[in-house]
Symmetry: C2
Subunit: 218 residues, 2 copies
DNA sequence: TTATATTTTTAGACTTATCTAAAAATTCAT
DNA sequence: ATGAATTTTTAGATAAGTCTAAAAATATAA
């Protein structure tokens, strides 16, 4: 079944929203995530349901069907492979690639994406640490926890981000909190939710917002 | 001025048609080249004229304005650089890349295309021998002639094709008529317009159709 | 539990790009 | 130069994706 650029963005948004909240996805949350009006979302949900990509009952929110999930994962695979290409081959920074990948992900060719995968030497993760689905649509979820869920004394490697905004990524870069660095939890401040970590043999304070969005593999 | 995917295809088509016939471009020729109805073309011509990309007077055909020409050249630059990428880096064949480049050319980012250019080491020609405009939109037209315009005794290097169809490119590949090969005109047959050339130390007969579409640099 | 607030859907409209059918303009051929 | 053929434009429709405003359903809270 063919999908338009727009339909693909809806499917991907639904996929991500489902994995964020682990519940059926509401019209409003889609509307917010895609910056469109709720009325437009309703229209599109009807269409996606007709095409068999989502389970939709009025007022009940939506879930992806198997075919919808597959389509979403295909697009995510393309998005993340293009991001790797942009960073590894064209020397873009990790905070510069999202919008471009947002467009490139809609180029429709299985051969192209598989050749790109090979050219990049079958990377396992994108520049933000997110796992790249393989050509069969298998996406292995990595065991990571946001810093604010770790206990004092826990140690691990910075392996991903929950928030992908330019501002956040640039902040991490500036403060040395980049992928691959080893950190250890020194203290957790109840008062403001901030966390003191040890990184590069030094102590560093991390705000609650950062602690919630920085993922650690233990 | 922003341009849609569709507008870009029209501008590129007008540019190519103008250079093929060296005259103002007719509604019907655009319609044929883009596989749309003439009525649709007329609608689009009005819009492109409003946006300042073409000079259009009813029933008179169109020409590109400077800004239209610039836009067209930008798209051609992107198209050809992506083709080089697909062939050189992803190991596509020269007859497989056109349709993909047709989509990739609409990805809208000057930084991306300049970084791609650099990554590819600033190629001068695409896989079909066509020249690649530089980042300032300068396109140097190469001095080439189709085989059927050469005289007996003339020699040169296969440097381009006028026809870009998969079938033609595959045929050239199969018969060894690839870019970079040296050829010499041995005889021209009036009867059917075919040409006998010397290539690889052997004589080879070339039909009129091939002779018209294979470009030689002398 | 009933009123209020929030969410979601419907109704109707707009834009872009397309189409068919018919009218108008231009070109061609005698 | 005039009638016929061809090309181009207009008129009116359609489909995709979006919007605003209003109605309907659901959730929340006194
Ligand atoms: Mn996208
Ligand atoms: Mn990413
Ligand atoms: Mn195109
Ligand atoms: Mn080419």
């Amino acid at each position: 079944m063919i999908t338009s650029y727009t339909e693909e963005n809806y499917l991907k948004a639904i996929y991500h929203l489902h994995h964020e909240k682990n519940a059926s996805v509401s019209t409003n949350s889609i509307s917010e995530s895609l910056q469109t009006r709720a009325a437009s979302v309703t229209d599109m949900l009807k269409k996606l349901a007709d095409k068999g990509f989502i389970n939709y009952a009025k007022y009940q929110g939506v879930t992806l069907t198997d075919s919808g999930k597959q389509k979403a994962i295909e697009i995510i695979r393309k998005h993340r492979l293009w991001e790797v290409f942009l960073v590894e081959k064209l020397n873009f920074k990790w905070d510069e690639v999202h919008d471009l990948a947002e467009e490139l992900e809609h180029i429709n060719s299985e051969i192209l994406i598989n050749k790109l995968d090979e050219f990049l030497d079958f990377p396992k993760n994108d520049p933000h640490g997110d796992p790249i689905p393989d050509k069969n649509g298998v996406l292995k979820s990595q065991e990571v926890l946001p810093i604010h869920k770790l206990q004092i004394g826990d140690a691990g490697i910075i392996s991903g981000v929950k928030e992908h905004s330019k501002g956040f990524l640039q902040y991490l870069e500036k403060t040395g909190l980049t992928l691959g660095e080893t950190i250890k939890i020194v203290d957790k401040i109840d008062f403001d939710g901030s966390v003191i970590i040890n990184i590069h043999q030094k102590e560093q304070n991390i705000s609650r917002e950062v602690a919630k969005n920085l993922l650690i593999a233990i």
